[in-house]
Symmetry: C2
Subunit: 342 residues, 2 copies
Amino acid sequence: MTEHPFLRACRRQPTPFTPIWLMRQAGRYMAEYREVRARYSFLELCHDPQAAAEVTVTAVEKLGVDAAIIFADILLLLEPLGVGLSFAAGDGPTLARPLRTPADRDRLQRYDVADALGYVGDAVRAARAGLAGRVPLIGFAGAPFTLASYLIEGGGSRNYIHTKSFMYHHPAAWHALLDRLAQLINAYLRLQVTAGADALQLFDSWVGCLAPDDYREYVLPHSRRALAGISALAPVIHFGTGTGGLFPLLREAGGDVIGVDWRLDLDTAWAYIGHDRAVQGNLDPVALFASPADIRRRAAAILQRAAGRPGHIFNLGHGILPQTPVDHVRALVDAVHELSAR
Amino acid sequence: MTEHPFLRACRRQPTPFTPIWLMRQAGRYMAEYREVRARYSFLELCHDPQAAAEVTVTAVEKLGVDAAIIFADILLLLEPLGVGLSFAAGDGPTLARPLRTPADRDRLQRYDVADALGYVGDAVRAARAGLAGRVPLIGFAGAPFTLASYLIEGGGSRNYIHTKSFMYHHPAAWHALLDRLAQLINAYLRLQVTAGADALQLFDSWVGCLAPDDYREYVLPHSRRALAGISALAPVIHFGTGTGGLFPLLREAGGDVIGVDWRLDLDTAWAYIGHDRAVQGNLDPVALFASPADIRRRAAAILQRAAGRPGHIFNLGHGILPQTPVDHVRALVDAVHELSAR
């Protein structure tokens, strides 16, 4: 398995072609996924290891991508804290009891990761069995900042006023909260490696809302703590969006591979990150609404910017959108494989 | 008036202190504004030159900032096209008849800028009289891309799927639409200068959703057309958010001053833009929810990164949020003036 192109690219070793996988490749845009979801709510699907493994493997089979990612959600880690997590149909997640004051932390329940999230380990084992070595399996977790933003806002946010206000006005409680999240994340990533995950992605999806000075002071130590010792177990992809001003700091926090969204050119980003790290990206998810010929042209432009340098994993800059035509996704995968064949 | 610090900074001439103004400085966070809004709807206020001038001037008097910006909205330019513009209380703008196909362009009404938007010129004249030369007055317009995104989406958007799909699938209609918008914008900016605006800001607020290649192909020529000949009349500030990957292209499109949001350090951004342009920014609007002492510390950090180099206008990275404490805004203005005094 260590010789698979995806894992070789994580380690910046030469590969016969540029490996590709897509964030949210098992998702609503795919008919097979919608069929499974007709029988399960989103959380039921996450909680059922066999069903989660099934959609994980199906996505790989339908798309021909070079890695699987375990079907789960970054907020599963918050659920055992007792915050009232739910996913309404078509909407984003909601936490019934957001954390708005330092005192609110007292009602967060203590839990043991192996007990409360063992079902994700079971899903990883089942998916690995289903994949039968065809492609590596990626495990993942949300990063301390992004998880804290959901905990404090109670859902998605446009401006993160509650999150940043908590950070500014209650720095001790903020650091204690993020330290606790970082410890849970670290244990959760280890659990997934033990279950058989071949690589791991840390999703700091919303960290791009922060000024670099705030990231350095309020977030970096906790992301580093979340990743402590993990790269020695499996390659780590450190992902965020809107992070063009944060790359040196993300890198400092950890990760063998740094995620790059579509808002800057891949070569510019890679030079800024440093060529001693691998990169993952960076097609605009909305580019998949263009024609297959146009998608191919855009894939070629990104591959050209990567210039064949070992250590590029092709991906979108964020997750596949639900309205995306599935045949366009397949056209992208095929184009990347053909155009990058060496 | 040409000797005022704000205008000197636009031209990268030395100033006795760093000038500051704030996007949306006349807005809901301010009691005096809310009192006026109790008597006028948002659009009524925009349409009434005396009332618009009053809130423009009041903001300067309450805050002690170094420039006024005419009270108006970038979408006023779309209203005479007959798209059914409205602003619901507490929500963003809505266009009742968005433009989703090339054929939809046929029902956009033709209009003469001087006739249809002459009331903004009247507001500029009234505001200038009210300011009596105390500080310069900034006029503004939305940029072709941002205006097109509202036209096509029918309001704000998260992913700009309709806008980008239109761009990808109907490039000829896209370019014709943006060319028409660029001509209207150019005439509208000239109208404001003729009425007495001392400087102009082009708001490409949402252009940061684009990959650089898409900006170059689908947007740059139109932003350049919108700004053609304008810098010869008054200094131009070219503003966007999330544009860390677009700076060289924004600069190519035009502008004496380039706006920088809070997602990257001001010194990094300025080096990337080039020191032969002035910069405006770059405090996180949410930082105004921190304590005044903390706000002062953050202002000092930004001023330190500007390093006293001529050509820095202090501002937020985006507009003041409605929940912002007004005394914190005043604390910021005072801190910038004190800390930058040379």
